[in-house]
């Protein structure tokens, strides 16, 4: 949190480099992988949602998982965290084989996730939400729970830790409110803070920025970068390419269930396979026609793109303003 006071953008923090071994290609080996998955396949009827031959997630780095809608990103998330079972395949986390392991056991190993649709526990207070995140609680056994003497001390420690985190995420004023009373963005923050209560080794965030306003996005970005500084590994799914460029050390691109490319963000964005599969929706648009330098007819793709460019321009302008 050192640069909280300065208006410095998250971009300026150093990226972690040198994560891979050998030539960059889909499924490249990492120097120090935290997750290694092999041949993970999940089909829904006739649809193959995920078909990943080999994937490695680098430790103590921020990895972004991008790809078009329906590429299987969230399904891969669900498989890796035990919320869904693959048809075949095996994967390890920190050296533990996870295939067939239930979601709660995966979480206990230190791999915690958030959800695309935020799951704040509405009728618990914010503080209770946080305390629920802590691992190995003595009082969570029904019999020991009946004897407060056994868990009071631990409870106080957990509460102290929760308060520190809540302060950091600027939710401390809300700690005794029901989580249901929080705004959408605050719930995202709460979900992330709650996940951190379990002191994880790997934090998996499913679209952490979806529906979050630009100012809050920046503080969320900071929080995610802090996680890396604190020694955690982050894997996130996101559609916001600015965010991916700004904070990701490594980008994995999925399309139609497969890993089509990976690499450091600046290189991946130039990759032809990525442009085709994801960024490439605009490739068939002649920019000259859009800008009016060349005469020609605008097709529908061009019209939508022009609208998007305008929108992006205004967003970029908005973000740059306060930094001056």
């Amino acid at each position: 949190m050192s640069n909280k006071d300065t208006p410095a953008a998250p971009v300026q923090r150093a990226k972690t480099t040198g994560l891979h071994k050998g030539d960059i290609a889909p499924g490249v080996a990492k120097v120090d992988p935290i997750i290694i998955a092999d041949g993970v396949r999940r089909t829904f009827g006739g649809l193959t949602a995920v078909d990943v031959d080999h994937i490695e997630i680098p430790r103590n780095a921020i990895t972004a998982l991008i790809g078009p809608n329906g590429a299987g990103k969230t399904t891969l998330f669900n498989l890796l965290t035990g919320f869904d079972k693959p048809d075949e395949g095996k994967w390890t986390f920190n050296g533990h084989a996870l295939a067939g392991m239930g979601a709660h056991k995966v979480a206990r190993l230190g791999q915690v996730r958030t959800f695309q649709l935020t799951k704040a526990l509405g009728l618990l207070t914010v503080l209770e939400n946080m305390k629920l995140g802590a691992k190995d609680q003595i009082g969570e056994n029904i019999f020991r729970g009946m004897i407060p003497k056994l868990w009071r001390k631990q409870e106080a420690e957990i509460e102290a830790r929760a308060e520190v985190l809540l302060k950091k995420f600027k939710l401390d004023a809300k700690s005794s409110d029901f989580a249901a009373s929080l705004s959408g963005g605050q719930r995202k923050l709460l979900e992330m803070a709650r996940a951190l209560m379990s002191e994880p080794a790997l934090v998996m965030l499913d679209e952490p920025m979806a529906g979050v306003n630009p100012a809050l996005t920046e503080s969320l970005l900071d929080h995610i970068l802090d996680l890396k500084e604190e020694g955690m590994t982050v894997l996130f799914v996101e559609h916001d390419m600015h965010m991916v460029r700004h904070i990701a050390d490594w980008v994995i691109v999925m399309a139609e269930g497969k890993v089509v490319a990976e690499g450091p963000p600046d290189q991946v964005m130039k990759n032809q396979a990525v442009i085709d599969a994801y960024l490439g929706s605009h490739q068939d648009v002649d920019l000259g026609i859009v800008t009016g330098r060349i005469e020609g007819e605008l097709n529908t793709a061009a019209i939508t793109m022009a609208a998007e460019v305008e929108e992006l321009d205004s967003k970029i302008a908005k973000r740059k303003e306060p930094r001056k």
Partner: protein, 326 residues
């Protein structure tokens, strides 16, 4: 119209064994539904298993009264396991369907003539009181004042029931304020979120089903303690009545189910005495006394609907904590 008699009956119903039995079962449902979010529609089966377990082990196997109670409670634990292991992976509505079906299976098993020797089929069971009454520390005689005048056995059943009820409420209160209770409430809100935090949701739901089931079984035992075990009692509408009592008091509260049961039985008794009396003196000329008995059940249904629509948190519930309005 004998108003005094009507009021006396109503007053007496407030601490009747049936009221205490309902309160225990409603506490069980508070555990299942109010705190864990399990839509258990088969509470009648837990009560039946408690009552039959108690009566059969005394009548057929010659157990002492406490042995019979242990059998009833043990039976409900086994039933919770059998019911829970395959069904707790189901979500809300499906769990309700399965539990309602399971409760019918249990009731029909007790009703069938195949096991007549043990269950008495349609006649039910009675005459198992000797052991419990032999333990009665209260000297013979009649005690009490106002509407609450009972003999030694009457008091023994009531005092025993109230002690068990107080114990159950105490247990529920202790576990729900512990971290265990926090996990349970979290499961009610969103079980996937709780799973993602490393809690074994299935195990917690099973524990909740078992604990609430034990309360239900004890409720069934207290209900049957003074008189007989009658298979006609453990029908699906029993579950709905217990739900009415629960929702009346507040689903996610400790004292709500108890107060709800007391009010439920108070109003039931009042209406069952008052309506026929009103018919007899000609105030309600459009119905007979028999019809008036049905009317009170219609009123229960209307009350349940009004309750859910206008005061879903019950009498004691926190307005913000509307557990079943999402």
């Amino acid at each position: 119209m004998d108003i005094l008699q009507i009021l006396s009956n109503t007053g007496s119903s407030l601490i009747a064994p049936a009221t205490i039995g309902y309160a225990l079962a409603a506490l069980g449902l508070a555990m299942h539904f109010g705190f864990t979010g399990l839509l258990n529609m088969g509470m009648a089966a837990f009560m039946a298993i408690g009552a039959y377990g108690y009566a059969i082990s005394i009548l057929t196997f010659g157990f002492p009264w406490w042995g019979g109670m242990l059998v009833g409670v043990g039976g409900s634990l086994i039933f919770a396991l059998i019911l829970g292991i395959p069904t707790l992976r189901l979500r809300g509505d499906y769990l309700a369907i399965v539990t309602i079906a399971a409760a019918e299976v249990v009731r029909l098993l007790f009703l069938t003539t195949t096991f007549d020797k043990y269950t008495g089929s349609a006649d039910g069971l009675s005459g198992y009181h000797a052991s419990f009454r032999a333990f009665n520390p209260i000297p013979d005689g009649t005690y009490g004042f106002g509407p609450w005048v009972y003999n030694a056995n009457g008091w023994w059943v009531r005092i025993f029931g109230i002690v068990i009820l107080a114990l159950a409420a105490l247990i529920l209160w202790t576990v729900m304020r512990s971290p265990w209770g926090r996990v349970i409430k979290g499961i009610r809100e969103d079980e996937d979120a709780v799973r993602a935090l490393g809690k074994n949701v299935f195990s917690y739901k099973l524990q909740s089903l078992m604990l609430g089931g034990v309360f239900g079984a004890m409720g069934g035992i207290i209900y049957a303690l003074p008189a007989s075990v009658n298979p006609g009692v453990y029908v699906t509408s029993l579950t709905f009545f217990v739900y009415t009592a629960l929702l009346l008091g507040g689903a996610a509260t400790i004292f709500g189910p108890i107060i709800g049961s007391v009010i439920f039985w108070g109003v039931q008794t009042l209406l069952s005495n008052l309506l026929p009396a009103l018919v007899n003196i000609g105030v309600l000329p459009f119905m007979t006394t028999t019809q008036s008995q049905t009317v009170r059940f219609i009123l229960v249904g209307v009350a349940l609907m009004l309750l859910v629509i206008y005061r879903p948190q019950g009498i004691l519930g926190n307005k913000k904590e509307l557990t079943f309005v999402k």
